[in-house]
């Protein structure tokens, strides 16, 4: 057991190391550097700036410095927001993104699996077609359309909630829906398809032959196997949800971490991008691990793999 955990941990470190190295050198290959300001600055000032942040050093020295700081848990300063460190930004934005992501994930799982299971119970009936059509609409409405639409109806017209912000409990509703509905639709399609696959499996027939009720067989045994594609999908999906969404955060004015992923890359904010990549990679690794563990738990046969 301990050996397995250690092995997986070492693998995770290797993944982080590779992705960090690639990112680090990719960033240096983008022209313009991190100090392209709205107005131009004199060459001498630029040199001083680069010297202040150690960017006048050869790239490999910068790299070693970064690794050195990283080992002490220091992701360095951002080049865009004076006085802020990458650690501070991630730490202060993470709780918001975590909350929004968890809510959206909750919506996605409840609705998605619920609809998928319901739809596959009696394929072709109204309980299949109606919810699945709704799910398709969810897929056809990108977040940048759904978000403003929800705001127009529920915030501007009905005035039930605020149009933006992250202060009151009800401020969570619309963003979580916007983010969650798309994933819900996705999960519903996956669930339905895979539930249909397992419906005809032998063990279900056996269980039913033994006199277990049809509904019980379907929900307990069917779901256990039918859920596997969703579980595989859940690793990256959860990581994506928790690392925030550029679009949803912009539309709703939410102080999450998602906007930084795009903006820092556009600004060439080296340290910020590296920090975020490490953070996101860690999420991916953790959630993929959880998803793999869940896969084994659902079907112990996989343990041999």
């Amino acid at each position: 057991m301990f050996a397995t955990v250690l092995k997986r941990f070492l693998e995770a470190l290797a993944v982080l190391f590779v992705i960090l190295t690639v990112t680090f050198f990719m960033l240096r290959a983008v022209p313009g550097g991190p100090f392209s300001r709205e107005k131009d600055i004199p060459e001498a000032t630029l040199k001083q700036l680069e010297a202040y942040y150690g960017l006048d050093q050869p790239v490999y020295i910068q790299y070693l410095d970064y690794l050195g700081n990283l080992l002490q848990g220091d992701l360095g300063p951002t080049f865009v927001y004076q006085g802020w460190t990458v650690n501070e930004i991630i730490a202060s934005k993470l709780p918001v993104s975590l909350e929004l992501g968890a809510l959206a994930l909750g919506i996605a799982l409840t609705l998605g699996i619920g609809i998928g299971v319901l739809a596959a119970w009696q394929p072709g009936k109204l309980t299949d077609n109606l919810p699945m059509s709704l799910a398709m609409i969810g897929i056809c409405l990108p977040t940048f359309v759904l978000g403003p639409l929800l705001i127009l109806v529920f915030a501007l017209d009905l005035q039930w909630v605020n149009v933006m912000g992250w202060n009151l409990p009800q401020d969570r509703i619309l963003p979580a829906l916007t983010l969650g509905l798309f994933y819900a639709a996705y999960i519903a399609r996956l669930t339905r398809s895979s539930m249909l696959d397992v419906r005809s499996e032998d063990y279900l027939r056996t269980a039913r032959a033994k006199g277990v009720s049809a509904l019980r067989t379907y929900l307990v045994h069917g779901l256990r196997n039918g859920i596997t594609p969703v579980v595989s999908y859940l690793g990256p999906a959860a990581a994506g949800l928790i690392s925030g969404s550029f679009v949803v955060e912009t539309i709703f004015g939410i102080p999450g971490i998602g906007q930084f992923f795009v903006q820092a890359a556009i600004d060439n904010d080296y340290q910020m991008v590296c920090g975020l990549v490490l953070f996101y990679a860690s999420l991916i690794i953790v959630f993929n691990l959880l998803s793999d563990i869940l896969l084994v738990w659902l079907n112990p046969k996989r343990r041999k793999a």
């Binding site: 590779v18 077609n129 398709m136 056809c140 990108p142 992923f261 556009i266 990549v277 993929n288 793999a305």
Partner: protein
């Protein structure tokens, strides 16, 4: 919406005996034909593709010629679906944008699905170290800073259409690979696979004969789910400057800019979204029909 869906139809009409008496391909086609939703989907997708290919030549308006005086006007007799902010005919722009979107949707999805399926099957079948190494590579690619990657592609190769496929292809296959691997991990311990292995069937044969048919359903569903993702990703990539550039457009681009002014000029969002949704719905029914027609267990 009709009360009949893909599945009930195929299950009801596929007599068990005949499944063994005909060639599997013809049998699948026969089952597909008897599914009205699937056939309808196929017809509509074909019509949309044809309209996008031929339409721009037949329309009285060019997708790129502007008429600033008629900017942002609603649907009328001259401009059936209205005009955009620069007075370009929206229908012409939707059809010519459809060329880009459909091509990107088809090519990028095919590439992503092929890579994902093969990669996932190998990883799941091989298991052990190979599996772990392959899955760690997937994790590395997942975490790659996509925006930086796109900007870099643009800096080094300039603006070229094929780069869209590289950029999209690099990310879209990853989830497919994970899902297929998860399914294969379960499948390979099942009795019929064990039996095939005992009978001396090689890995390629097992993957083709036993894994592929069993994951076909999930592949098709996932592929139809990938199409909208790919089309919207194209809009983001083009926004960053790689790929399609103004005055050319695409559905994703039209929807994105239409969403900006949905209250003032609703037609600029509504019509491109309708084409987008219609295509996706049709693809979806088409996919469901294919899935049922190809499903080996339906015949049992």
């Amino acid at each position: 919406m009709s009360a009949h869906s893909a599945h009930s139809q195929s299950e009801a009409v596929a007599p068990r005996a005949s499944a063994h008496s005909r060639s599997p391909g013809r049998e699948a086609w026969r089952r597909f034909r008897q599914n009205p939703m699937a056939v309808g989907g196929l017809v509509i997708v074909t019509l949309i593709v044809l309209a996008c290919i031929v339409g721009p030549w037949l329309l009285p308006h060019d997708a790129e010629s502007q008429n600033l005086a008629r900017g942002a006007s609603g649907p009328s007799a001259t401009h059936w679906l209205g005009t955009d902010i620069l007075g370009r005919d929206l229908l012409a722009r939707i059809l010519s944008g459809g060329r880009i979107s459909l091509m990107v949707g088809a090519v990028a999805t095919t590439v992503a699905v092929c890579i994902g399926v093969v990669y996932g099957m190998i990883s799941g079948y091989a298991g052990g170290r190979v599996d772990r190494a392959m899955m760690r590579l997937v994790e590395v690619l997942y975490s790659m800073p996509f925006t930086v990657f796109v900007i870099l592609l643009m800096v080094f190769f300039g603006r070229q259409l094929w780069l869209i496929f590289v950029a999209i292809g690099a990310v879209e296959w990853l989830t497919m690979a994970r899902i297929i691997r998860g399914q294969v991990l379960g499948l390979k311990e099942q009795s019929f696979v064990q039996a095939a292995r005992c009978l001396g069937q090689g890995p390629v044969g097992i993957m083709r004969k036993h894994f592929l048919p069993n994951v076909a359903g999930i592949i098709i569903v996932y592929a139809t789910l990938t199409v909208p993702g790919v089309m919207l990703l194209e809009a983001f990539i083009s926004f960053l400057g790689l790929g399609v550039q103004p005055p050319q457009t695409s559905w994703g681009d039209l929807i994105r800019s239409g969403a900006e002014s949905m209250e003032e000029y609703p037609w600029m969002l509504l019509f491109p979204s309708l084409f987008f949704a219609l295509t996706l719905f049709s693809l979806n029914f088409l996919g469901d029909g294919l899935r049922d027609a190809l499903d080996p267990k339906r015949g049992k």
